[in-house]
C-alpha cells in the first residue's frame, strides 16, 4: 500500500516475513536506510516496514534489498474498497510452523522412544532412527537453520544459531558414527545408564537430542506466534464504529445511501438514537449528542444550528439535519484510527530474553568446543577422541527447554489470568510490568460507572421527595436524553411504576413539560422553569451552586406554578475504585486521573478515590500526548481506559489495560483486557504479569542450567546419549512444572469487599 505525499515522496508499507527477533527488524531497518532517499521503520511485533521514498521509487527495489538480507517482503494486498479494512488472511508463517510441528511430533516421538528405552532398540533401530530423524532435523528445523545463516552473515547469534548449531552437530556426528564409526553395527544398543564414564563417541548417536530439541522449540515458537497480537484488529474495530448508512437529504427528499458515498457539503438527516454519519455542522434542529465514546464526556452535549458534530457519536435527542464537512479518512474517527496504528507500529518490541542470552552463550560455547579440541590434541590424545569431545560440547549446549521457557509460563499465566478475568495479549508486554511506576486512569467508565445516576434530591421544605421524584420520572421517561433516563430509572426504582403523562412536550436542550395526575409539571433547566415563572428559592439556588461546583448536573422540577425540587445527576464512582487506587499506591505506583471531562467533575471524583494528580479537559489526541510526556520524564506508564478516546493512549502506554466493559477499540488497542470491569483487576493484572515474567526468567535459568552443568562432562569426553537425553528431559520437565506453579496465583478481586455492588454498574 502506498500513499503519495505531493512534492515530497511516497510512503510504502511492506509485509516482512522471516523475522525471529527485534534484532532482525533492526537489521532490515539499517539496510533499507542505507538506500538513497529511503527512510524506513521496521516493527517486529506487527511484521511491517513503513518506508518513505522519493516519488516514483520502485517498491521492488526495497523487496529485493530485504530478500538480500535474508528475509521476505511483499506489498500487502489492496483493500477491496477504499477505506475498507482488509479481511484477515491466514498467516502463511503460522500455517507452515504448524505443519512442521505436526511432522516433527510424528517423527520425533519414535526416535526419542527408541533412544531412551533399550527394550525398543531392535536390530537396525539406529538406521530407523536416522530415517525418521533426518526430515525432522533438516526440514522441520529449516527455519532455524535459515535464520542462523542470516545471523551468521551479519556476525550475530541468537537462539536460532544455538538450535541450528546443536541439532546439526548432533545429526552430523550421528552420521559419522553410523557410517564411519561403530554405531551402525547391527545389534548396537544404548543401555540405560546415567553413569559418568569415558565413552566411545564413534559408537554413540545423538539423534534423539536433535529431534527432541527441534520438536520442543517448534512447539514453543508455534504457541508464541499464535498469541502475537494483530495490530489490524484495533483499526478494524475503530472503523466499524462508524455508521454504515446515512439518510441523504436532497431537495427535501430523504434517500438511504451507504456512508461511503457521502461527500463533503451534502446534507443528511439524523434521527434520535441514530449515529451521526460523519463530521459535520448542524443545519437545522436541536438535540443532545452523546459523544462519550469519542470524547469521554459523560454529559451529553447540547447542539443547535451552527454547532459542529463528530461522526460516530449518537444523537440522543431530536431530529437533526447536518451538513457533512469531513468524510472518509479525514474524519475524527479516522484520525483516531491513524493515531492508534501509529502508536502500535511505533511500540518497540522487547528482544526476547532467550535471544539476548544466546547472543553471549553461543560464542562462549563455540570457544569452549575449540578449547576442548585444542586441549585434547595438546594432551596427545587421538584426533577422533578430540573431535568427539568438541562436538559433544556443541550437542549438549543446546538447551531443549529454551523454546518452552517463555510459552509455557505464558500459557499457564494467561490461562490463570483468564480465570480471574485478565486477558494478557502476548509476552512482549510482560517486561514493562516490572518497571511500571505510574498508572494513568481514565475517569468515565474506568474509575466511574460511566452512567448518569441520580445522586441527590433536594426539595423545598414541606415538599415530599417521593412525589417530586415520581412526577419528574414520569415525564422524563418519555425522553431519550441520558439525564432524563437516569431520573426515570431512579424514580421507577424508588416509587414503583410511573404514571403516563396525559400531555407531553419535549423542548430540545431545555427540558420537558406535561400533565400528570392533573398537575402541570415542568422538568428541565432552571431557566425553563423561570420562563414558566417558577423560580428557584435561595435554598435550592444554594444547592444548585454546590452541586455544579462538584461537576454535577442539576435538573429542576416544578408543578402547579412553583419550583419544588432539584434533582442532581452525576456519574458515580465504582464501589471498588477507591480500594483499587489504594492497592496501586501500596505497590508503589502513582495513580493519575486523566479525563476529557471538566476540571470540577474530575477533581471531585479524584478526591473520592484518593487520587492527587488530575489532568482534565483533555482531547482524545492529547491523551496520548500526556502519556508520551510522562514517558519522556522517565516514567514507565500503564494506562487504564475503556473508550474509543482512550485507544491512542492505551497503544502508546508501556502497558495498556482496557476495561472489558468498554469498547472493542480500546480492548484491541490495549495489552491486557480486564474482563470484569473492576479496577482492582488492574492491580491483579500487574501482579500476575510480574509473576509470569519471574517464572519465565526462572525457566530460562534452569533451561540452561542442566545443559551448562553437562558441559564439563562433554568436554571431558564423559557424555553419553542417555545423559544428554536425561538433561533434555529434566530441564523440560522442570520448566513445565515451574510454569504450572502460576496456577496458584490468587487475585484481590476474588476476595470479598465490604462495599455493596452498584446495581446500575
Amino acid at each position: 500500500m502506498s500513499t503519495t505525499t505531493p512534492g515530497t515522496g511516497q510512503s510504502i508499507e511492506l509485509q516482512i516475513g522471516g523475522m525471529t527477533c527485534a534484532s532482525c527488524a533492526n537489521r532490515i531497518e539499517r539496510k533499507l536506510n542505507k538506500l538513497d532517499g529511503v527512510q524506513a521503520s521496521v516493527n517486529y511485533a506487527t511484521e511491517k516496514a513503513t518506508v518513505t521514498t522519493p516519488a516514483g521509487y520502485d517498491p521492488a527495489a526495497l523487496v529485493a534489498e530485504i530478500e538480500k538480507t535474508g528475509y521476505t517482503a511483499a506489498l500487502p494486498a489492496p483493500a477491496a474498497t477504499p477505506g475498507a479494512p482488509r479481511e484477515d488472511a491466514p498467516d502463511p508463517e503460522l500455517t507452515g510452523l504448524r505443519h512442521r510441528l505436526i511432522g516433527a511430533a510424528a517423527l520425533s516421538v519414535p526416535v526419542i522412544a527408541m533412544s531412551m528405552v533399550p527394550a525398543l532398540q531392535f536390530t537396525y533401530w539406529q538406521w530407523a532412527s536416522l530415517t525418521l530423524a533426518a526430515p525432522v532435523i533438516l526440514w522441520a528445523a529449516w527455519p532455524f537453520h535459515r535464520a542462523a545463516w542470516a545471523n551468521l552473515r551479519h556476525g550475530s547469534a541468537t537462539m536460532d544459531t544455538l538450535i541450528s548449531m546443536g541439532t546439526l552437530a548432533a545429526f552430523l556426528w550421528s552420521l559419522y558414527a553410523l557410517f564411519l564409526g561403530t554405531a551402525g553395527t547391527p545389534g548396537m544398543t544404548h543401555p540405560f545408564e546415567l553413569t559418568i564414564a569415558p565413552s566411545d563417541g564413534a559408537a554413540n548417536i545423538y539423534l534423539e537430542v536433535g529431534t527432541g530439541v527441534t520438536l520442543f522449540i517448534l512447539a514453543g515458537r508455534y504457541f508464541e506466534k499464535r498469541s502475537k497480537r494483530q495490530a489490524g484488529a484495533a483499526l478494524r474495530a475503530l472503523l466499524e464504529m462508524g455508521a454504515k448508512e446515512v439518510s441523504l437529504l436532497r431537495d427535501g427528499v430523504e434517500t438511504k445511501i451507504p456512508v461511503e458515498q457521502l461527500t463533503a457539503g451534502q446534507e443528511f438527516v439524523v434521527r434520535p438514537g441514530e449515529k451521526i454519519a460523519t463530521d459535520g455542522v448542524v443545519v437545522a434542529g436541536t438535540s443532545a449528542v452523546d459523544a462519550s465514546m469519542l470524547t469521554g464526556e459523560s454529559v451529553p452535549v447540547e447542539v443547535a444550528a451552527g454547532d459542529a458534530v463528530a461522526g460516530a457519536t449518537v444523537n440522543a435527542g431530536g431530529r437533526l439535519v447536518v451538513r457533512a464537512t469531513r468524510v472518509g479518512a479525514d474524519t475524527q474517527l479516522a484520525q483516531m484510527a491513524r493515531l492508534v496504528e501509529q502508536a502500535q507500529t511505533g511500540k518497540a518490541a522487547v528482544q526476547r530474553l532467550a535471544d539476548r542470552i544466546s547472543g553471549v552463550f553461543v560464542p562462549v560455547v563455540i570457544a569452549l568446543a575449540v578449547a576442548t579440541l585444542g586441549a585434547w590434541l595438546g594432551a596427545g590424545l587421538p584426533a577422533s577422541a578430540a573431535f568427539t569431545a568438541a562436538v559433544a560440547v556443541l550437542v549438549i549446549a543446546c538447551p531443549c527447554a529454551l523454546g518452552l521457557a517463555t510459552p509455557t509460563a505464558l500459557l499457564v499465566g494467561t490461562g490463570r489470568g483468564a480465570q480471574l478475568g485478565i486477558l494478557i495479549k502476548g509476552p512482549e508486554v510482560l517486561e514493562s510490568t516490572r518497571t511500571i511506576d505510574t498508572v494513568v486512569l481514565d475517569k468515565t467508565g474506568t474509575v466511574t460507572t460511566g452512567r448518569m445516576t441520580l445522586t441527590e434530591v433536594v426539595t423545598e421544605p414541606g415538599q415530599d421527595r417521593r412525589e417530586s421524584l415520581r412526577l419528574a420520572g414520569a415525564l422524563e421517561a418519555a425522553s431519550e436524553h441520558p439525564i432524563a433516563q437516569a431520573v426515570a430509572r431512579a424514580a421507577a426504582d424508588e416509587t414503583g411504576p410511573l404514571p403516563t403523562p396525559e400531555d407531553f412536550t419535549n423542548l430540545e436542550g431545555r427540558g420537558v413539560h406535561g400533565v400528570i395526575d392533573g398537575h402541570a409539571v415542568v422538568v428541565g433547566r432552571p431557566s425553563l422553569l423561570a420562563d414558566w415563572s417558577q423560580h428557584l428559592s435561595p435554598a435550592l439556588l444554594q444547592a444548585k451552586a454546590r452541586a455544579e461546583s462538584e461537576g454535577k448536573t442539576v435538573v429542576a422540577v416544578g408543578w402547579d406554578g412553583q419550583a419544588r425540587a432539584l434533582l442532581v445527576v452525576a456519574d458515580t464512582v465504582k464501589p471498588t475504585s477507591d480500594l483499587a487506587v489504594r492497592e496501586l499506591q501500596a505497590m508503589g505506583l502513582t495513580p493519575v486521573l486523566l479525563t476529557g471531562d471538566n476540571e470540577a467533575a474530575a477533581r471531585h471524583i479524584a478526591a473520592q478515590v484518593g487520587i492527587e494528580q488530575v489532568i482534565a479537559e483533555v482531547l482524545p489526541r492529547d491523551k496520548a500526548q500526556v502519556v508520551s510526556r510522562l514517558q519522556a520524564e522517565g516514567k514507565t506508564v500503564a494506562m487504564v481506559g475503556d473508550g474509543v478516546n482512550d485507544a491512542p493512549a492505551l497503544a502508546v502506554a508501556d502497558l495498556g489495560l482496557a476495561m472489558g466493559t468498554g469498547t472493542d477499540v480500546a480492548i484491541e488497542a490495549s495489552d491486557i483486557t480486564l474482563v470484569r470491569g473492576d479496577l482492582r483487576s488492574a492491580v491483579d493484572a500487574i501482579r500476575l504479569s510480574r509473576a509470569t515474567l519471574r517464572t519465565i526468567k526462572t525457566n530460562l535459568f534452569w533451561a540452561f542450567a542442566y545443559n551448562v552443568a553437562a558441559l564439563p562432562l562433554a568436554a571431558l569426553g564423559l557424555l553419553n546419549p542417555m545423559l544428554a537425553g536425561a538433561a533434555m528431559a529434566f530441564s523440560s520437565a522442570f520448566v513445565v512444572g515451574n510454569s504450572l506453579r502460576l496456577r496458584t496465583f490468587t487475585g484481590t478481586t476474588t476476595q470479598p469487599t465490604d462495599t455493596p455492588e452498584d446495581p446500575h454498574a
Partner: protein, 60 residues
C-alpha cells in the same frame, strides 16, 4: 563494526583459544592420564556386543 570484521575478530579469538588450550594441556596434563585413557580405549570392544559403551566403571 561490520559483520566481516566481527567474524574475523571472533575467528582470531578462537585461534587464540585453540593455541592457548593446546599449549596449556600439553604442559599440564600428565602422561599417565593419557596412557590410562589410551589403555581404556584398547579394552576389547566388539562391534557385535550388545553395548556400544565402554563401561568406565568396570575399569576404574
Amino acid at each position: 563494526m561490520s559483520a566481516v570484521t566481527r567474524l574475523a575478530l571472533f575467528g582470531a579469538a578462537l585461534a587464540l583459544v585453540f593455541v592457548a588450550s593446546f599449549t596449556a594441556a600439553g604442559a599440564l596434563v600428565p602422561q599417565a592420564v593419557v596412557t590410562r585413557w589410551e589403555h581404556q580405549g584398547q579394552t576389547p570392544h566388539s562391534p557385535a556386543s550388545t553395548t556400544s559403551h565402554q563401561h568406565g566403571g568396570s575399569e576404574r
